[in-house]
């Protein structure tokens, strides 16, 4: 399975990481060598194997329907690179 430059660019769009041409090429090379090594898994027949759904041997634990988080707006907004008193502020989406 070779990963071409077009694929790398598509994946970078999905991952929201901008890449210049040079970086994209290096990534393609790196990804290809990593995938060669990953391809080893194809040696195994896993037709009758269940995928591991959880390593922790328990089922999902429930929480009571109580409101235990209060208004911490200041803390929530404190670290934001751009905000006003009430909101997070971000550049507009181009629709």
């Amino acid at each position: 399975m070779t990963i071409d430059l077009k694929t790398v660019k598509h994946i970078s769009k999905l991952a929201r990481i901008s890449l210049d041409e040079k970086k994209a090429e290096k990534l393609a090379t790196d990804m290809n060598s990593i995938f060669e090594f990953i391809e080893k898994l194809n040696e195994l027949n896993t037709d009758n194997v269940e995928p591991l759904t959880s390593i922790a041997e328990t089922t999902l634990r429930f929480r009571d329907d109580k409101i235990t988080s209060e208004n911490i707006r200041e803390k929530i907004l404190k670290n934001s690179p751009e905000k006003n008193d009430d909101f997070f502020v971000v550049p507009k989406v181009v629709e």
């Binding site: 994946i11 970078s12 929201r16 790196d30 990804m31 990593i34 195994l44 390593i55 670290n79």
Partner: protein, 485 residues
């Protein structure tokens, strides 16, 4: 009495309880030593002033019933610490100050520990040499220009250089055990679900575990008691009866069955590693254990499996770093542009590589062939261990396929870097407890470690075997403080 900073955790606690040393004296010693050890580059954020202040407060009103009374401790910069910058070794969190505390560190502060500072690590815990940190490489105290291992490289280096009496790291594919092996220290990754992941910057959710890193096995047992707890805020935290690991620690392992998996004898394994392993088997026998040959047939598929599962989960866990709520934001002409620039500038090369791989293996058309397949192979790997544990109580293997390498030696070849984790990764995939203890040196006198893997939730057996063998091995690091010259 030897220098305060050379004491083990146990010795330090004893001295403080017996009032031979005050908390403030201890804190001062570690701070002084750290000031002289900047070359190691173990610290990302120092909390020295605050630590000295809190240590004085402890001395004014001491509580010697606590398990870590007035003990200054530095922790890996992956644990969110309230009001103290937490970077995960990344530029994207360069200015992030949490308003909350991780459960594991809170446990430590509740037992009297005091934060010395945050320790360097590979960016987002992705790496095996601490060469991917935005804050620069870390020096292995064993010798100049040697990597300390990773991702908990700052932790292992600080420990080996006596900048902290004990520390905690996180282990996703070997990030506690491998650096322990490279620095001649002890590192334990507990069973998945033992230590809460709440407040730990997530890398790969089904693999991450916090664990103690210490100078000897006893110290790890003391710290494990403190950090292993059931936490309702983490849905993967398990409620099981946890031992008093340190008081139940024993060297008597007579009759325990220890398995030697033949598949760990990989092609091209250096002679030194083979010799170390054989020596380890002899030590184990001397301690009274019975050695049994076992097979873990799917061992060679563990690394490829890990390099699908971990990046996949990471690609999703790291999606929250988008410049909106916290961390770095690069300016963009619109929202998408802002995202792309922020993440491109904020993430280092290794992180980008893994996010790209992870995104790819989950993408449309590839999910079945990669992610689903990897989860099936993971099931097989786990079954291998389940089967083996019908016959044995624990498993003994080398920790790493080599000793510490030179800084820069492997940083251009991702795959060769990944091969560092070959012995440690299966343990994470199966969610088992595993410890690395220093067991010898290579021809350069660089430390080599042996790994003991246990049954789920059987940290006690792992610690006991390690404790027993440690005495026979009698390994001592020879730290020359070369960085101070």
């Amino acid at each position: 009495m030897s220098e305060i900073t050379s004491l083990t955790l146990y010795e330090l606690i004893k001295n403080i309880k017996e009032k031979k040393i005050s908390s403030n004296e201890a804190a001062k010693s570690f701070v002084d030593r750290a000031e002289k050890s900047k070359k190691i580059n173990a610290y990302v954020t120092e909390n020295f002033e605050n630590c000295l202040k809190l240590s004085k407060e402890f001395d004014d009103k001491p509580n010697f019933d606590l398990k870590l009374p007035g003990i200054p401790i530095a922790v890996k910069d992956l644990f969110c610490t309230n009001e103290v910058r937490t970077t995960a070794g990344s530029n994207i969190l360069n200015n992030f100050v949490p308003t909350y505390e991780s459960t594991v560190t809170q446990n430590i502060w509740n037992e009297g520990g005091i934060l010395l500072g945050k320790l360097n690590c590979d960016e987002f815990a992705m790496g095996s040499s601490n060469e991917t940190s935005f804050f620069g490489n870390v020096q292995n105290p064993i010798a100049e220009d040697l990597v300390p291992g990773g991702s908990s490289g700052g932790s292992s280096a600080a420990l080996a250089a006596n900048l902290t009496p004990v520390t905690i790291g996180t282990d996703t594919g070997g990030s506690i055990r491998q650096p322990a092996s490279f620095t001649g220290t002890v590192g334990l990754k507990p069973t998945y679900g033992s230590c809460s992941r709440y407040g730990i910057v997530a890398f790969a959710s089904s693999l991450d575990q916090a664990g103690p890193m210490s100078k000897d096995v006893k110290d790890s047992s003391i710290l494990l008691e403190v950090i292993s707890s059931f936490d309702k805020k983490d849905s993967t935290s398990i409620d099981f009866k946890r031992n008093n690991y340190s008081s139940e620690l024993t060297r008597n392992i007579k009759g325990l069955k220890i398995g030697i998996p033949k598949e760990y004898r990989v092609d091209g394994m250096p002679d030194e590693i083979e010799k170390l392993w054989k020596k380890g088997i002899e030590y184990a026998k001397d301690c009274g254990a019975e050695i049994i040959d076992i097979s873990l047939p799917h061992t060679s598929y563990a690394l490829p499996t890990y390099y699908i599962v971990a990046p996949a989960e990471a690609s999703s866990n790291l999606a929250r770093y988008d410049g909106v709520k916290y961390g770095l934001r690069s300016s963009g002409k619109n929202l998408i542009d802002m995202y792309e620039k922020t993440r491109s500038e904020g993430f280092g090369e290794e992180v980008k590589r893994r996010v790209m791989i992870g995104t790819y293996v989950l993408s449309s058309g590839y999910y079945d062939a990669y992610y689903l397949k990897a989860q099936k192979v993971r099931q097989l790997i786990k079954q291998d261990f389940d089967q083996a544990y019908n016959k044995v109580d624990a498993i003994l293997t080398p920790s790493t396929p080599s000793s510490a390498f030179k800084i820069g030696e492997k940083s251009n070849d991702p795959v060769s870097m990944y091969l560092n984790d070959i012995f440690t990764v299966p343990v994470n995939l199966a969610g088992l407890p595993g410890i690395s203890i220093p067991a010898g040196v290579d021809k350069n006198n660089y430390p080599l470690g042996l790994q003991i893997i246990g049954k789920p939730f059987d940290e006690q057996t792992v610690l006991n075997i390690a404790y027993s063998m440690e005495e026979k091995i009698n390994y001592k690091n020879n730290i020359t403080d070369w960085w101070m010259k």
